[in-house]
């Protein structure tokens, strides 16, 4: 299955946000659910199980100066095996203009047994924009070893690299569950917070030794990174 969805936000001239484009196709449908103050709220509604290997899903988001958008997904997406030798792909690309705000806060991606999944995030943030970007990965459904999943995150701030991370889990990723990478934790994720008026917070490690706050080198940005025994605990570390 191939699907492209597109969301474009502009200021509405009255202090709020107008969505000038909100178009999707199954299984990637977008719904505006309301607003919180000036922030428009949008849900990605998955209309089918999956993604299945072979699926290619793309979501493009553009937030222009003065607009603010918060995007959620209604449920976790479960990457499942499909066509033999094929990969499922979920690509989210976003552009956030100066003075705009984007909060990308989806539910988890679950890497089911036998899956081959690539989740790509490509974000271009202008100087003076605000960004919250969360990615969570659950390695396997209940008591199951995951297939291969790769989470690839590329964030540029004002045309300069801010964050580049590729996390690979599954049979093709040597040592992924070992003590150098996830230490046996089945859940992992990160939350990137970029705020133009607020300097990054200093490093801090959760007393449990499984989550940390990391100020990045390339701008006023903080990355929260965590490993956890389950999705619920993971989320508790990654609430914006």
């Amino acid at each position: 299955m191939r699907a492209v969805a597109r969301l474009v936000a502009h200021p509405d001239g009255r202090g709020g946000t107008r969505l000038t484009e909100l178009a999707g196709e199954p299984p990637l449908l977008l719904r505006r659910t309301g607003h919180r103050g000036p922030v428009a709220e949008v849900y990605v509604v998955g209309a089918a199980a999956g993604p299945l290997a072979g699926d290619d899903l793309r979501l493009e988001i553009e937030v222009t100066t003065g607009a603010a958008v918060r995007v959620h997904t209604v449920a976790a997406s479960v990457a499942l095996p499909g066509r033999v030798g094929a990969t499922s792909r979920m690509m989210v690309s976003a552009r956030v203009h100066p003075g705009a705000a984007l909060h990308w806060l989806p539910e988890q991606t679950v890497a089911a047994a036998g899956c081959a999944h690539l989740a790509e995030s490509r974000v271009e943030v202008a100087e003076g924009a605000t960004l919250t970007w969360r990615d969570e990965l659950i390695c396997g459904r209940h008591a199951e070893e995951p297939g291969d999943a790769v989470l690839h995150t590329v964030v540029d701030l004002a045309g300069r690299p801010l964050l580049r991370q590729t996390l690979a889990v599954g049979p093709q990723a040597p040592g992924w569950s070992g003590p150098a990478v996830l230490g046996g934790a089945p859940a992992t994720g990160s939350l990137l917070v970029l705020h133009p008026d607020r300097p990054a917070d200093p490093p801090w490690v959760h007393p449990g030794g499984t989550a940390a706050r990391l100020p990045l080198a390339g701008g006023p940005a903080t990355l929260w990174t965590a490993t956890a025994p389950d999705a619920h605990t993971l989320r508790s570390h990654l609430e914006p």
């Binding site: 690299p161 003590p179 996830l182 940390a212 990391l214």
Partner: protein
């Protein structure tokens, strides 16, 4: 091409760049109770090779490639920013730059005529893989040899730290490294191939625990290793 003595000299832990003072994150992993014996050390080394090992080797190889390019300074500045973006933990950025400084000091003394003036040092020193790449180029090593040196060092340093931290049998730790040799070769080959790509496409293999361990370790008052 016959491998040279220079390759062995640069890869040797006795090269005076202070590598013996670093455990590559192992000390913190031992402190967290995640590495306790030979089997967990083997898993640690495998994961480290596939993440920090691949990224470091790719950047060393890319710096080696940049050494001979007309826009060398511009490329090195790009590589510096790209490596920062792949190193989320401030503690790891600091360690890389401190090790880079130590390697540069040795390199300048050993190859006084090689130019290192265009290495970006803004964050407190040049990143270690970039220095290694330029040094290897100055020594006349090939790009694959440069990648191999970097990948090799990411596992050997942590392995010998394992002997000291856990009191493991050095023969059996050496046997672990022998088991890892093929994976190390493959990682170096992958890093060398990647180095042909533009800087933004270089590998970015991440390890959440490496970041967390590094920040925990940085808060310890008493420790055997600098990282």
């Amino acid at each position: 091409m016959t491998p040279s003595t220079l390759l062995l000299l640069l890869a040797d832990g006795r090269f005076p760049a202070g590598a013996h003072a670093h455990s590559g994150g192992l000390e913190a992993a031992v402190g967290a109770g995640r590495v306790t014996d030979l089997a967990t050390l083997a898993a640690f080394l495998r994961g480290r090779l596939a993440t920090a090992g691949l990224v470091g080797a790719a950047f060393a190889a890319a710096a080696h490639r940049a050494a001979g390019q007309p826009d060398r300074a511009g490329l090195l500045a790009l590589l510096d920013a790209e490596l920062d973006a792949r190193t989320a933990a401030e503690a790891l950025r600091r360690v890389s730059r401190r090790q880079g400084r130590a390697l540069l000091r040795a390199g300048k003394a050993v190859w006084p005529t090689a130019g290192f003036a265009d290495l970006p040092t803004a964050g407190g020193g040049p990143h270690q893989p970039l220095v290694l790449g330029l040094l290897s180029a100055a020594a006349g090593l090939t790009r694959p040899e440069t990648a191999l040196t970097a990948a090799y060092q990411t596992v050997t340093g942590a392995a010998s730290a394992g002997v000291r931290l856990l009191g493991l049998d050095p023969y059996r730790v050496q046997a672990l490294l022998v088991d890892l040799a093929a994976a190390c070769d493959r990682t170096a080959a992958e890093a060398d191939r990647a180095a042909g790509e533009p800087p933004w496409r270089l590998p970015a293999a991440a390890a959440p625990l490496a970041d967390i361990h590094a920040e925990v370790h940085a808060t310890w008052e008493v420790r055997l290793f600098a990282s």
